[in-house]
Symmetry: C3
Subunit: 363 residues, 3 copies
């Protein structure tokens, strides 16, 4: 369903000169070599394009036999020995764009139309060129923009809305009333719009369900990973901004708001009503507590717990350092008396101060 | 499939006086205002009902224009300025009950019957009023109680049993022989009854699968989150008590037992044969080691690892505090020598004691 | 779909003598008792087989009424009081093999053929004896070996390959071009071959998708847990070795390599391009950073973060110890000044040294 479909049969080729004409950059060497695909630098052959994103790794260019390598300006000198090179300030971005162009060339577009084994309600509206695969189900009132692709076994609930060119990979679920913008990709098994986790406790301590009547509203160009879950709001909506990228197995609780172009790595859990800024990078396995705010352009290191608001842009971390099990066990046991150790240090300092009245310790 | 279906078209309205007649509480102000739905206090309008759950947040009542606000007794004075208020000891619980009543009013019940694109084995038994959506599959010997709803693409394995009024949201999976009680909700993509993770090692170190022949037995009024997994037992069963609420992306391993009315937040992992008491609250991202016991009414803070049994009710936590990355890096490095620091403190104390024989330090 | 199908109707029985003839071991006591199934030692009856895996738990044999118990050599003496016993060096492995034999006896094999509500492309190739359940979808070019079982609602993408006797449980997804070896089991909801999480940043900070054109290549005898996700490679492939066992809700990012017979517990997250050795045991909830290497035969304790390569076999851990919330709060706050505490200890030591020039402290 997505643009990429495995190693292509190399339907054609392109020259470095053509790439520079299309994507910019400065050409070094022979621009006429036909390039059939992209490959990792270490094993790219004479008909393949490679890239080197970090100038510090320039030594990897020695011995490279790729037909062409995309390099940063600092490597332009070393690149002289290559068959051909394209010099550009951000080789990784250049690679992304060329790779998208190759992928589009090799794409096998999903066949338009509704498969005989799909169930599309008569009261759903499908834009032109939509493709609905076998096993997909679309309920009444749902609205699909132009060229929307629903993979095998997808579910689109009543009154849900999908923008133009949005793709749901197989088994993705978009519950009733939720909205996805244009050009979004929802990977297999993701669930958007399940009920948030909200319960009152009755007089005997049993949970009484809070009906979750908000929606999930997702902007344009958002990508959502496989088996990720994004809950609908309780009263208000859960809101995901334009360009947000979310990896696999991420949990986004009800009423969370995520600012535009933030990227969230796998296995992150975001608790209810948290507000995450724009252009943030949240590392894998991070936990974010509820009802807090994270400013724009915050980076959180993997496996950290964010238990209070982060008001300023910056890089934050909190994760126990790995050690051999025996060392860890001894240090972890000691950690449980750390506050007492601090008190003992203070006492030692006071004893020393009592003996040396002129000598001051920080505390 | 669930009772809530997005913001309703406000099929009707209800007055505060009617709510008090139905749900109790003390009415202040004008009880005749028609209320069409529930909304957050900050943006509730004159035809909307709001609630204030914490007395400490009473300042939020100033300027509120909601048609009626549910408030705790401590806010009864401030509520005098409102159009109307309902005073009740637990506004959040009151809100839950009113919201359920609104949701039931607005519900679009799933149509009874079996969709033409569902596959229900002739040897399955369906109670009256069951609804089986497109793509759902029910194997031989399965038993569905009255008014069970199977969403699109659900799977119910051979001999599985679902109690009355239980709902499986789209793509939920209940494997063979497992049992769900009455009034349960299983959210999209949840998998109940996959094999537990059990292997012996053969002479060469390769894993030899332990067949997982136990079941998953789930009580009444249980809610299970989207893409959560609950494994079947190895020999004995995995057992989930009445009223347990489990959030999204939670892993419950084989032979785990969870006591009644315990709530488990998202991304929790519970290892095999752990026994968790009743009325516990397990925070998001918590890990629980195998073969241990947690007493009733235990609260575990988010991202903590429970590596030993917890014998007494109480609030337990273990999570690295967040810091700027640079501070964290320095403290984390130091943490790896913590036991040595403790020894050095002890040595300093001994030196001081040697000099001051009458002065005692704790150790 | 799997071999185990709940507590069987005990289609037949077997004697201890027959088991010894088939699986080895030394018989003690009456080898003729008919054994109808396996049960936990504490509740196994006279027609049931039990096992005791650890010699240290030998006291559990007292009062046991099982028809036969599998025991280690150290318990051979105590086993004399039992009706019958089988003595073997590794009772757990012996149990696994007997349990597999019982499970095969009780299995209800999936019916061969393609269900009328499945959608198998005419350009897919199915080996002999394949079973494709309702709702399953198989795209063009896919190749299924002999006796492959696709559960309800599975998806097999274009050109994907499944080896002989491999089973996809309901709703499992194998994306285009990916390969599974022989005798693999993929549990419900697992997603193999979704796009890896790769984006370049453009000039305005927006993500530009890196097309993920690699595959997932999985060896023989691999088991993959429910709702686990394994991403396809970016340019190269993601590779999982023979005999690897992966539990539920695990995230394996693009270009990861996992060596043979490694076992990975639930809720683990493995970042891109990490290389994990053979015969490793990765505990539940562990996070593994990207672009690092873990040697063979490494054990990582639950909830640890592996942020650097582990070059040597051994047992490694890093997890905050649980405590009462109040103690934790005090220790965690102190932890944030740990490096300063270390400096204060050093200063105290220097003060003491200045006073006692002959007395040396470690540092």
């Amino acid at each position: 369903m997505s643009l990429d479909r495995g190693t292509p049969a190399a339907a054609g080729s392109v020259s470095a000169a053509e790439l520079v004409a299309r994507f910019g950059g400065t050409l070094l060497g022979d621009g006429t070599v036909p390039l059939r695909r992209i490959a990792p630098l270490q094993r790219a052959g004479a008909d393949e394009l490679a890239f080197l994103s970090q100038a510090a790794a320039g030594a990897q260019l020695r011995g490279a036999v790729a037909g062409c390598v995309i390099v940063p300006p600092a490597c332009a000198g070393q690149a002289g020995a290559l068959r051909a090179a394209i010099v550009t300030p951000d080789p990784y971005l250049y690679y992304a764009r060329v790779a998208q162009w190759f992928a589009a060339r090799d794409a096998r577009p999903a066949p338009p139309g509704v498969h005989a084994l799909a169930a599309v309600d008569a009261a759903a509206r499908l834009g032109e060129g939509c493709s609905v695969a076998a096993g997909a189900v679309v309920e009444a009132g749902a609205v699909l923009g132009a060229r929307v692709v629903l993979g095998a076994g997808c579910f689109v609930g009543a009154d849900a809305v999908l923008g133009d060119d949005t793709v749901l990979e197989p088994r993705a679920v978009l519950m009733h009333g939720c909205r996805l913008g244009a050009r979004c990709i929802v990977h297999a098994g993701a669930v958007i719009g399940a009920d948030g986790f909200g319960f009152a406790r009755d007089e005997r301590g049993a949970g009484v369900k809070i009906p979750q009547t908000g929606r999930v509203l997702i902007g344009d160009d958002v990508e959502i990973g496989a088996n990720t879950t994004i809950d609908r709001g309780a009263l208000d909506d859960t809101v995901i901004g334009d360009g947000v990228k979310i990896d696999n197995l991420v949990q986004v609780a009800h009423n969370v708001r995520i600012g535009e172009h933030t990227a969230i790595a796998g296995c992150v859990g975001i608790s209810g009503s948290a507000r995450i800024g724009a252009y943030c990078l949240i590392g894998g396995g991070v936990g974010i507590a509820g009802h807090l705010e994270i400013a724009d352009r915050v980076v959180v290191g993997g496996m950290s717990l964010v238990s209070r608001s982060i008001r300023r842009s910056g890089h934050y971390t909190g994760a126990f350092p790995l050690d051999t099990h025996d060392n860890w066990a001894e240090n972890a046991a000691t950690l449980r008396q750390l506050a007492r150790l601090r008190d003992r240090i203070r006492q030692l300092e006071q004893q020393n101060e009592a003996r040396q009245p002129g000598d001051h310790n920080p505390s």
